[in-house]
């Protein structure tokens, strides 16, 4: 059961077990792939450790682009020479490592840059809505007088918040 999978210390032991099983299976049946994946996807592992979002957006963001950087070398390994030696050559090649880690870094940059942009966009939208509503209220007051804005004291709505500068 899903609930039962979450055990003491907050760690999801089923995931750990699953990952361990995949690793063992990869080690048994495709050790060169594992040799490339482990160091190549290391930034994703680091992102997973650092990720404070509940949904693991940082991990997905870094992992997605990290995979972009790793996958060409995996393809080469799988199609040319699927050996431990070839895997070691890829890993030891500074250019391939740079490609893998740069892709991961680009992913991290995206994770850092996109949220403020989205937030700013949403704020502008909200401000435009507030302006529209204020204009509507002014029109109502012009037509019906200030008494239209008198709200019953029993109203539980909080007082208007100050606008952000």
């Amino acid at each position: 059961m899903a609930v039962g999978n979450a055990t003491q210390g907050g760690k999801d032991w089923s995931k750990v077990l699953g990952m361990g099983t995949v690793m063992v299976l990869l080690a048994i049946f495709s050790l060169p792939t594992l040799i490339v994946l482990l160091p190549g996807m290391l930034p994703t592992g680091v992102a997973k450790v650092c990720d404070r979002t509940e949904q693991g957006y940082a991990t997905f963001c870094v992992g997605g682009l990290n995979l972009c950087g790793v996958f060409p070398y995996l393809m080469k390994l799988w199609t040319d020479d699927h050996s431990i030696n070839a895997a070691a050559n890829i890993i030891s090649d500074i250019f391939s490592i740079l490609v893998m880690y740069s892709a991961a870094g680009f992913g991290w940059m995206m994770f850092m840059a996109i949220p403020p942009v989205v937030s700013a966009f949403l704020t502008v939208l909200a401000q435009r809505r507030v302006t529209f509503l204020r204009t509507l209220q002014e029109d109502i007051v012009t037509e019906w007088g200030p008494e239209v804005s008198i709200i019953d004291n029993t109203d539980s709505a909080p007082p208007p918040a100050k606008k952000r500068g």
Binding site: F60, G63, I114, E143, G145
Partner: protein
């Protein structure tokens, strides 16, 4: 013992600004008169004289006095009938502040009574000598002049043998006819009898409508119960009171003088209470033998045994009569001395106690009084009742019921149940309450005492002290209950103002706005307000407490909803109440266009217009009102301002607008109030977007590489 102030809030205890107070001395002089001499006072001249046109027919010359036709409460002036110069008439100008007998005036004008001077016309007109409007009554001119003047000049002689046929018969006929159609005359005295013709054949009763019943009468001509009252409180009475006055008139005419002219008024009252009116008023005069029994019967103090008009008619026509026997009233063997006056009867004591209330309270608790009253016929029972009243007063020391005035009022009822209602310095009959209040307010400017006695239910004490109540008294009791309930309400249209107009149909509205116009009937009100609009402070309202009460008492339509609105604490509702009342008056009375009044009211409609929420509606109303003001139509303004459909639409629209405004406000608060949360949400959305883009890129690269490899 403590005296409590009147609980009700009394507005306007003074004379209104616009009202010229009447010559009180001239009025008072009527009581001092011996009944033979008419008052010959020059008119008050606060303004210029000149002719005044009445009903577009009668030209009253305010500079031409006719003192021989004066009444104590009204001055006589020469009149010219412009349609019939041969028609001989004269005018009586009534005293402002003194209520006239309006019901009698209206009824009298449409009827003709034998033996009574004919009332031709009436109207309230501006009267230059007074500088204000006054009630003017046009009477047929008696060509033979005043009877008493003719007797003095020996132009005519009335002997004891002429009394039944030449004096009593025409007068009793007039009294009877008047009583059947209108009510008692109550102004029968020698100086108010006239000869209608120059040959002095036809004797008639003079005017009686210019003052309250008995107001113009010297006390001698009033039965003892009414004689001890203030003259404004003597009450309407009935024809037996006229018969009494007729008896005294006969004595004066037959003897040629007033037998008690030299007796001090208070001594005469004392003698009348102690020995009976007949004995006291005749004094030592030798009356003709045939007149003694009829006069004793006409002057009987007990109205139940006093002759009525039928008995007088029987005497005049020589039929069998039932003369009143000389009866001795119960009296003490030894006198009780109170403030230097010796009393043998409870009646005189009650009358004297009422004049010295603090001393009276001490006196009734003294051993002298107790010993005296124990020896009085049936005095023990009276003593017990008095002791009960004193104990009750001691029990209520903190309230008005413990005051000397209240206790003495009770004592007066106990000692003399036939006495008038007495309270403080007031003494009046139940049917004289209205004029009492009117004169105290209109002439003396202070209605407090009268209002207090009504609030303290002093008449209730009087009614409860009487063994049995006849129909007039039961009616009076009901009337007092009604007046008291009106007094208890403090809204406009009620209170003491309502009481005074309800109890006096001939009392002019005392509102300072229209006091000078002397508005007596409701039809005069709107024209008076129209006139007032030109000079009044138009920031004030045209309906004050006096006008509201006047309308409520004189207008025969149901105006309770209007009064309720007028009394509303919300200014707009109150203004609409005022407008609706005036509009209702103009509509129902079919009053002509009222430009100035409409303009005045239109200027006060701000709060009523502002009661509409919608600004466009307000602008529309403000543009429309000047057009209707120019038409002078209050009903149209009212229809414009208080359009029910428009008001409903406005109310519904306002509620919808309120709802819309509130929703917008809540949304704004949601947006502005949830700042941190919104930022967090936006950041999360950004992270999600970044993750999605990254995964999509990853999948795309993987897919492209796989496809390239396959191809």
């Amino acid at each position: 013992m403590a005296e409590q102030p009147l609980e009700t809030e009394e507005p306007g205890t003074d004379l209104p600004d616009g009202l010229v107070p009447p010559d009180e001395d001239a009025l008072e002089s009527a009581d001092d008169s011996d009944g033979l001499m008419p008052p010959h006072k020059e008119p008050e001249s606060s303004g210029r004289g000149g002719p005044v046109l009445l009903r577009e027919r009668y030209l009253v010359d305010s500079g031409a006095r006719l003192p021989e036709f004066d009444q104590p409460s009204a001055k006589a002036y020469a009149v010219e009938d412009r349609r019939d110069l041969a028609n001989k008439v004269f005018a009586l100008v009534c005293t402002p502040g003194v209520p006239v007998r309006m019901d009698d005036i209206i009824a009298f004008r449409t009827m003709d009574f034998p033996g009574v001077l004919a009332l031709i016309e009436w109207e309230v007109v501006p009267w230059p000598p007074l500088g204000q409007s006054a009630m003017v009554v046009i009477y047929e001119k008696p060509l033979g002049g005043r009877v008493i003047d003719r007797l003095r000049r020996k132009d005519v002689r009335i002997t004891e043998y002429d009394v039944p046929r030449r004096l009593t018969e025409p007068l009793i006929e007039g009294l009877q006819a008047l009583n059947e159609k209108i009510g008692p005359h109550r102004a029968l005295r020698p100086d108010n009898l006239y000869y209608l013709d120059e040959d002095m054949e036809e004797m008639v009763l003079g005017p009686h409508v210019t003052a309250p019943p008995g107001f113009d009468q010297p006390a001698d001509f009033e039965p003892i119960d009414r004689a001890t009252c203030q003259r404004e409180g003597r009450g309407t009475g009935d024809i037996r009171d006229d018969v009494f006055a007729l008896g005294v008139t006969i004595i004066h005419i037959v003897t040629g003088y007033n037998p008690v002219a030299k007796v001090k008024p208070e001594n005469l009252i004392h003698q009348r209470l102690e020995n009976g009116s007949y004995t006291a008023l005749c004094g030592n005069t030798r009356l003709p033998l045939p007149l003694i029994e009829p006069l004793r019967s006409m002057l009987a103090d007990d109205p139940a045994i006093r002759w009525n008009h039928t008995e007088v008619n029987n005497w005049v026509t020589g039929q069998k009569t039932n003369p009143v026997k000389k009866m001795s009233s119960p009296r003490a063997e030894v006198p009780f001395r109170f403030r230097k006056r010796e009393h043998l009867t409870l009646g005189t004591l009650a009358w004297h106690f009422a004049q010295h209330r603090s001393d009276a309270v001490r006196a009734v608790q003294s051993d002298d009084f107790v010993n005296w009253i124990k020896r009085y016929p049936e005095g023990n029972a009276t003593l017990e009742t008095i002791r009960g009243a004193v104990q009750t007063a001691k029990f209520h020391t903190e309230s008005y019921q413990g005051s000397d005035d209240y206790l003495v009022s009770k004592l007066s009822n106990i000692l003399d149940p036939t006495a008038p209602i007495r309270y403080k310095n007031l003494a009046f009959m139940p049917d004289g309450f209205g004029p009492l209040l009117a004169v105290h307010w209109g002439v003396k400017g202070d209605p407090q005492e009268v209002a207090q006695l009504l609030a303290h239910d002093i008449p209730g004490l009087w009614f409860s002290s009487r063994d049995k109540l006849n129909k007039p008294l039961l009616d009076a009791q009901k009337n007092f209950a009604k007046l008291k309930s009106l007094l208890a309400i403090n809204d406009p249209g009620y209170g003491l103002e309502r009481v005074v107009y309800e109890a006096n149909h001939g009392f002019a509205c005392m509102s300072p706005l229209i006091a000078k116009n002397h508005v007596v009937v409701i039809e005069q009100l709107l024209p008076a307000l129209e006139q007032a609009a030109n000079s009044a402070d138009t920031s004030s309202r045209p309906i004050d407490r006096h006008i509201a009460a006047f309308i409520a008492s004189r207008f025969d339509q149901d105006i309770h909803p209007h009064l309720k609105a007028l009394a509303a604490p919300k200014e707009d509702t109150s203004i609409i109440g005022m407008l609706s009342l005036l509009a209702f008056l103009q509509w129902k009375l079919r009053a002509p266009s009222m430009l100035a009044l409409t303009s005045w009211v239109g200027g006060l409609l701000g709060p009523a217009i502002n009661a509409y929420h919608n600004r466009h509606t307000r602008d529309q109303l403000e543009k429309e009102i000047p057009r209707l003001v120019r038409k002078g139509s209050l009903p149209e303004i009212f229809n414009l301002i208080d359009d029910a459909e428009k008001r409903q639409e406005d109310g519904e629209g306002f509620r919808a607008a309120q709802e819309e405004w509130l929703q917008a406000e809540e949304e704004i608060r949601d947006i502005e109030g949830a700042g941190e949360e919104r930022l967090t949400k936006a950041e999360r959305s950004g992270q999600q977007a970044a993750a999605t883009i990254s995964i999509m890129l990853g999948l795309t690269v993987v897919s492209i590489l796989l496809v390239m490899e396959i191809m």
